[in-house]
């Protein structure tokens, strides 16, 4: 089955998210060996780089796609596209909520048991709480995009 404009657009978002934030999280894991202060500023730098990259890539590639599929781009999302979007959003939302509750649980647990604070960060990841939240968000986005692509590919 030929891909629609919407489907191609979701593929761009999925691949760019996986590549850019995959690289980001890998780099964050490697920051475990350096001092906390350096790791934190490096993490912020990496985050800004990832943010700028994803914005540029989305603008450039989505723009190119829209130019080459002008008719479909102007048509916008039709009812089937919207239905897949709603269904996929629900799945992504579940992942995001789980991530938020895991983070909340961690914060509360460490507040009540501060002696576990150093043990809670085995890989010495800088800004761990923020990164758990960010990972939940990115993972929920990946699930959202993947679910949409699944619905399109399974021919619903």
């Amino acid at each position: 089955m030929a891909m629609s404009f919407r489907e191609k657009s979701i593929w761009i978002s999925l691949i760019s998210t996986l590549l850019i934030f995959g690289d980001y999280f890998l780099n964050i894991l490697f920051l475990g060996g350096v001092s906390e202060e350096i790791a934190q500023s490096a993490a912020l730098g990496l985050f800004l780089r990832a943010l700028v990259l994803i914005i540029i890539i989305e603008i450039v590639f989505q723009g190119m796609l829209a130019i080459s599929n002008r008719k479909e781009a102007e048509l916008g999302a039709n009812e089937r596209d919207k239905l897949f979007e709603y269904k996929a959003n629900s799945l992504g939302y579940i992942i995001l909520v789980i991530g938020v509750f895991v983070t909340l649980g961690r914060v509360v647990f460490l507040e009540l048991n501060p002696e576990f604070f150093t043990q809670s960060n085995t890989f010495n990841i800088p800004l761990l709480t923020a990164h758990i939240l960010l990972f939940s968000f990115i993972f929920s986005e990946v699930v959202r995009f993947s679910a949409q692509l699944y619905y399109y590919r399974s021919g619903h």
Binding site: M1, F5, R6, E72, L75, N78, E79, D81
Partner: protein, 87 residues
């Protein structure tokens, strides 16, 4: 020849009826509308070709609005184009 094609198209629609309870005769109506393409129908209705394809194969049930638009394109009433078959 026309009878054969008509029977073939009807059979094809019937074969694809295993998916959703709302069936349709879009393929047949397209054939009798001078072999209107899915793309042409999609443009007239305001959806994508993939959506028309999914509706035609009974894999996606359209909203009432789109169903009415499709019926309007072929100059038919909605129940002549779409049928609900309860199991």
């Amino acid at each position: 020849m026309l009878d054969f094609q008509h029977n073939y198209i009807t059979t094809e629609v019937v074969t694809n009826m295993a998916t959703l309870p709302i069936k349709n005769k879009i393929r047949e109506l397209r054939f009798f509308a001078e072999e209107m393409t899915q793309q042409e129908l999609a443009e007239l209705v305001g959806v994508t070709r993939q959506t028309i394809m999914a509706i035609e194969k009974c894999k996606y049930s359209p909203t009432l609005e789109v169903a009415f638009k499709i019926a309007e394109v072929f100059g038919q009433s909605i129940d002549e184009v779409f049928q609900y078959e309860s199991s």
